[in-house]
C-alpha cells in the first residue's frame, strides 16, 4: 500500500510576465520503508513538490491541479489548521542548511521539547526524556549534556542530526528531505545518509529525498524520479535509471557527473541544457591580443613555490597577548606548481585550502613562510607598484558567482576594468573590442556586454568571472571551488571551458575543490589538506590508484560510489 501518493500535481507561480508552471502533472508514490529520490537541477521544481505536500508553498505559488493522499486520506484539501496538525506529526521535513534551520536563540532542548509537547501531549519531564532519547538515536554523544546547548555550539553535521531528531519527534510516517546533505562534507554526508537509511528501515518510514546530487541518489534511494523544468521525465528503480536511462536528459545529466573512476579528456554530451554555452566563435590565440605579450620573465623550475606557509587567526580576543587564543588555519604548507601544470588542493571544509589560495593571491598576509613566484618572493615585496606587476600575471576565480561580480556594473565594465587598470590596451575602442572577443571566447556572446550580472544564470556568471580573469592576460590562474555552486551539467561545461583555456594559453593553475571526482578530471598533481596541513602530494592518477596517507585513503573511501551510473553509449576519450 502506498504511504504518500501524489497524483497529477500541478503548481503555478503567477507573475507579471505570465504564469510559470513550476510543476507540471507530476505523480509520485512512496511506500513504507522506501526511499524515493527526486533528482533534477535548479529550477526543476523538485523543492516545490516537497513544499506543496506539507502545505507550505511560498506565495504566490499555488496548487492548480492534482491531489495528495497520505495513506487514504486526501490532504491537499484540508483546512490550513488541519494541514498544520499533519506537519511534523505525520510528515516530517528536513531542510538543506543545518546552520540556518535551527533558531539560534533557543537551546536544542527548548526546540525539541516544544515540538514533542505539542505533538505527543507529554508533560515537560517526559518530553525531555524523549528528547534525550531522540538525540541518542541520531548519534549525538552525551545527549544529556548536549541537549542544553545552543545550535551554534554544534558542528554542521551535528546540527543536521539535531534537525533530523526534530523531524522525527512525533514519529512521522513520511519524511521529506530537501537536499539534506548538500551543505555537509563528504565524510559527514556518508554518516547522515547512513543514519537516514537506518531510521527509514527501522521505523518503516517512507522517505522522499530531494537532491541534485547523483552520488546521494546512488547511495540511498530505492527508486528515482528525474525532473526537468517542472516535468517528470523518467521514473523507475535506482538501478534502472542510473544504469539504463531512457530519456536523453537523464543520460546527459549522468554524463555530466564527474567520474571518480577514470580521467576523461572532456565531459561528453553535456549540451542538453544550456545550448548557448557552446563556443561558436573562437579566437585565433596566436594573433589575438589575448595570446600576445605572453613572453613573461622566463622562469627556470616551478612557477610557484610555497614554503612553510603559516596563517594564524585569532579565535579569542584578549587584551594581553598571552591570553589570546590563536588558530593555525594553515600550518607549515609547502608545495610547488610547475609551469603549465594544474595543481589541485583537496580537503574538507576548514582544511585551509582556500586560505592557501588567498595567501598566494595576496588577499591574506601569511604569518610565516615564503611564496615564490618564479624567482621573486612575493612576501618580501613592499611597494604596491611592484606587486601590481605580479597581480597582473595572477588571477583568481571565486566560488560564488552571485557575490563575486559587482551588480551595479555592466559586464563590459566588469571585464574591461582590469585591462584599463593595468593599461593593457591603447584606446577605449580597443578595450571594447577585446572585451567583446573575450566574452565570445568564453561562450557568452558579445551582446552580453551591455547587460548587468543579475540577468545571467550562475553558470553564465562564472563565465563572466573567467573572462574577467583572462582580461589581464595572466599566466597563473587560481580557481577556488569555481563550480561548487553550480548544477552538474553547468559544472561540466565550465570545467570543459577551463580545460580548453588552460591548454590554449598554457596557463598554470591552482585548482581548489572539496570534490574528488572534479579534482581527478582537472588536475595533474594534487595536494591533500587536513586541518591546515598538507598530508600528501602526488600525481593525480597515483593518488586515486594508490593513496599513501591514511587520510587520503579515508577521503577516497568516502567518495560516493557511482558504479551504478551508466556510461554506455557515450563517446568518452580517456586522458
Amino acid at each position: 500500500m502506498e504511504l504518500l501518493n501524489i497524483k497529477n500535481l500541478q503548481i503555478e507561480f503567477p507573475s507579471r510576465r505570465g504564469t510559470v508552471l513550476a510543476v507540471n502533472d507530476v505523480s509520485l508514490t512512496v511506500r513504507p520503508g522506501e526511499v524515493l529520490g527526486v533528482v533534477g537541477e535548479s529550477g526543476a521544481g523538485k523543492s516545490t513538490i516537497g513544499n506543496a505536500v506539507i502545505g507550505l508553498l511560498e506565495p504566490p505559488g499555488e496548487m492548480s491541479g492534482g491531489n495528495v493522499y497520505l495513506k487514504d486520506e486526501q490532504i491537499n484539501t484540508l483546512s490550513s489548521e488541519e494541514k498544520r496538525k499533519i506537519r511534523g506529526r505525520r510528515i516530517g521535513m528536513i531542510f538543506q542548511d543545518p546552520l540556518t534551520s535551527l533558531d539560534p536563540l533557543q537551546t536544542v532542548e527548548q526546540q525539541l521539547v516544544e515540538t514533542i509537547e505539542l505533538h505527543l501531549k507529554l508533560g515537560p519531564a517526559k518530553s525531555k526524556e524523549k528528547a534525550i532519547d531522540l538525540l541518542r538515536q541520531v548519534g549525538i554523544p552525551e545527549p544529556e549534556v548536549r541537549i542544553t546547548n545552543y545550535p551554534h555550539q554544534f558542528s554542521g553535521g551535528m546540527r543536521q542530526r539535531v534537525v533530523i531528531a526534530l523531524a522525527l519527534c512525533a514519529e512521522p510516517e513520511v519524511i521529506i528531505a530537501d537536499e539534506p546533505t548538500t551543505a555537509l562534507d563528504v565524510s559527514i554526508q556518508a554518516q547522515i545518509l547512513e543514519l537516514m537509511r537506518k531510521l527509514c528501515q527501522e521505523k518503516q518510514v517512507g522517505m522522499l529525498i530531494i537532491t541534485h546530487d547523483m552520488g546521494v541518489i546512488a547511495d540511498i534511494t530505492d527508486r528515482v524520479a528525474v525532473m526537468y523544468r517542472g516535468n517528470l521525465v523518467e521514473e523507475g528503480t535506482t538501478e534502472k535509471i542510473l544504469g539504463d536511462p531512457d530519456h536523453p536528459y537523464t543520460k546527459s545529466l549522468i554524463s555530466a557527473v564527474p567520474r571518480p573512476d577514470v580521467r576523461l579528456k572532456r565531459f561528453p554530451m553535456v549540451d542538453y541544457i544550456e545550448k548557448e554555452g557552446e563556443r561558436k566563435k573562437l579566437l585565433d590565440i596566436s594573433t589575438h591580443w589575448l595570446g600576445q605579450a605572453r613572453d613573461f620573465d622566463a622562469v627556470e623550475g616551478p612557477l610557484i613555490e610555497v614554503k612553510d606557509l603559516v596563517m594564524t587567526f585569532v579565535t579569542k580576543q584578549a587584551l594581553l597577548k598571552k591570553n589570546r587564543q590563536m588558530f593555525n588555519a594553515v600550518d607549515g604548507v609547502s608545495f610547488d606548481i610547475k609551469q603549465g601544470e594544474v595543481f589541485g588542493l583537496v580537503g574538507e571544509s576548514g582544511s585551509g585550502k582556500s586560505t592557501v589560495a588567498r595567501m598566494i593571491s595576496g588577499l591574506y598576509t601569511p604569518a610565516a613562510g615564503t611564496i615564490n613566484f618564479g624567482d621573486t618572493d612575493l612576501t618580501k615585496i613592499k611597494s604596491e607598484k611592484e606587486m601590481d606587476y605580479y597581480r597582473r600575471q595572477m588571477q583568481m576565480i571565486f566560488q560564488d558567482p552571485f557575490s563575486s561580480l559587482n551588480g551595479r556594473m555592466r559586464v563590459m565594465d566588469i571585464v574591461a576594468e582590469p585591462i584599463r587598470f593595468h593599461k593593457l590596451a591603447s584606446s577605449n575602442a580597443e578595450v571594447e573590442q577585446i572585451v567583446t572577443d573575450l566574452l565570445d571566447h568564453v561562450g557568452l556572446g558579445a551582446q552580453a556586454a551591455v547587460r548587468f550580472p543579475h540577468e545571467f544564470s550562475g553558470g553564465q556568471r562564472q563565465r563572466i568571472s573567467i573572462a574577467r580573469a583572462l582580461a589581464t592576460r595572466p599566466r597563473f590562474l587560481i580557481c577556488d571551488e569555481p563550480t561548487s555552486a553550480l548544477d552538474v551539467s553547468i559544472q561540466a561545461q565550465i570545467l570543459n571551458l577551463l580545460k580548453d583555456l588552460q591548454e590554449e594559453l598554457g596557463l598554470t593553475m591552482l585548482f581548489i575543490s572539496h570534490d574528488l571526482p572534479v579534482i581527478r578530471q582537472m588536475c595533474d598533481r594534487v595536494g591533500v589538506m587536513k586541518m591546515g596541513q598538507l598530508v600528501e602530494v602526488a600525481e593525480t592518477e597515483n593518488l586515486f590508484k594508490d593513496p599513501q596517507a591514511p587520510y587520503s585513503k579515508e577521503l577516497l573511501s568516502l567518495m560516493p560510489k557511482l558504479d551504478k551510473l551508466s556510461h554506455r553509449g557515450l563517446e568518452v576519450e580517456e586522458d
Binding site: 511534523g88 535551527l102 533558531d103 515540538t115 587584551l319
Partner: protein, 323 residues
C-alpha cells in the same frame, strides 16, 4: 565578557573625556566669563581679583584638570545668571525630563513593537497599509508641529488636556514626580505623545523590516514544517530574533529622547533640562550649557553600556567565547 566590558568602559571614558574637553573649551571661546558675571560698574581691580579667585589665570591644562575633577563629582560651578550651583539647577530639572523621556520611550515601545509585528504578519491587509501610511506622516512631520497641532486640538478646541507645564508635582527628597497626581499625569499626555511619535514610527518600521527578514529564514520555515502553530512561530521564534537589532536602535533612541526633548519642552513649556538649556543659551550661561552637554553625553554612554550588556542576555552566540 569581562574583557569586552572593560574595553567598552575604556571607550566610554575616552568619549566622556572628549565631551568634557569640548564643554570646557566653551568657557574659553564663548565670550569672557568675567564680563558675563559682573556688572558694568565693576572696577578693573575687582575684575582681576575675581579672575584670580576663579582660577582663570592658571595654565589651561590645570584649569581643565580642575574642571574634570569637579565635574566628576557633579560640580559644574555656579550659574552666571542665577548664582547658584549648576548641579542644583540641573538636578532640580532632571526629574521632569527623565519622566517625560521614560513615558515616551514606554509609549514608543509598547505601541511601536506590536504595530511592527502586526504590519509584518499582515503585509497586504488594509489596516497594515493604513498604519504604514500614517507612520510615514509620523516620521516626516517635525515634532514642534505635531506638538502645536495637539495643543490646538486637545487643549484649545476640545479643552481636555493642559497645554503647558507639569501640573502638580509631589516632592520626594530631591525628586519631584508628576506621576502621582491627576493633573501631573494629564499634563504628561500631550508632550509624551509628541516626543514619542517619531520614535514610535521608527521602531515600528524597524521591527517590521526585521520581522519580514526573520520570517524568511530557514528556521522559521522549519518551525512551521514541524507543525508549530503560528502563535509560537511568530512570537517565540521570530520576534525574539527580531529584537537583537531593535535593542540597539531603541537604546540609541532613548538617549536622543533625553537629548532632543528640548523642542518638546519648549513647545509645552515643560520645566526640564532642555528648557533650562535653551534659556541658558539665550543668557550665555556657559556653566549650564557645559553641564548639560556633559550630562547628555553621560546618558548616551550609560545607555549604550546597558545595551551592550543586554546583547549578552539576548544572544547566546555572544556568550560562546566564555565557555
Amino acid at each position: 565578557m569581562v574583557s569586552f566590558l572593560f574595553k567598552r568602559l575604556l571607550q566610554s571614558i575616552i568619549v566622556m573625556f572628549t565631551v568634557a574637553l569640548i564643554a570646557f573649551s566653551m568657557f574659553r571661546f564663548v565670550g569672557d566669563p568675567i564680563n558675563n558675571m559682573v556688572g558694568q560698574d565693576t572696577t578693573q581691580q575687582e575684575r582681576d581679583d575675581l579672575r584670580e579667585r576663579l582660577g582663570l589665570n592658571d595654565p589651561v591644562p590645570v584649569q581643565f584638570g580642575k574642571f574634570i575633577v569637579n565635574a566628576a563629582q557633579g560640580d559644574f560651578g555656579r550659574s552666571y545668571k542665577y548664582q547658584v550651583p549648576v548641579s542644583d539647577l540641573i538636578f532640580a530639572r532632571m526629574p521632569a525630563t527623565l519622566e517625560l523621556a521614560f513615558v515616551s520611550a514606554i509609549l514608543a515601545l509598547v505601541i511601536g513593537i506590536p504595530l511592527g509585528v502586526y504590519t509584518a504578519l499582515k503585509r497586504s491587509g488594509i489596516a497594515s497599509k493604513f498604519i504604514m501610511t500614517m507612520s510615514l506622516v509620523g516620521v516626516s512631520l517635525p515634532p514642534f508641529l505635531i506638538g502645536i497641532l495637539l495643543i490646538l486640538f486637545f487643549g484649545v478646541i476640545l479643552r481636555w488636556l493642559p497645554t503647558f507645564g507639569r501640573g502638580e508635582v509631589i516632592e520626594f527628597t530631591s525628586w519631584s514626580t508628576g506621576f502621582l497626581t491627576a493633573s501631573g499625569l494629564k499634563s504628561l499626555i500631550l508632550p509624551s505623545i509628541t516626543l514619542a511619535l517619531f520614535q514610535m514610527t521608527l521602531i515600528m518600521r524597524l521591527v517590521r523590516a526585521e520581522m519580514l527578514e526573520v520570517l524568511r529564514t530557514d528556521f522559521v520555515k522549519f518551525a512551521r514544517a514541524r507543525g508549530l502553530p503560528d502563535r509560537l512561530v511568530n512570537f517565540k521564534h521570530a520576534l525574539k530574533n527580531t529584537l537583537v537589532p531593535v535593542i540597539t536602535i531603541t537604546g540609541l533612541q532613548l538617549g536622543s529622547l533625553i537629548a532632543f526633548a528640548i523642542i518638546t519642552e519648549s513647545v509645552f513649556q515643560w520645566p526640564g533640562m532642555g528648557l533650562l538649556f535653551i534659556q541658558a543659551i539665550a543668557d550665555v550661561d556657559i556653566p549650564i550649557m557645559a553641564a548639560y552637554l556633559v550630562m547628555i553625553a553621560f546618558f548616551f554612554v550609560l545607555i549604550n553600556m546597558i545595551v551592550d550588556i543586554l546583547y549578552y542576555a539576548v544572544d547566546p552566540r555572544l556568550r560562546a567565547d566564555d565557555e
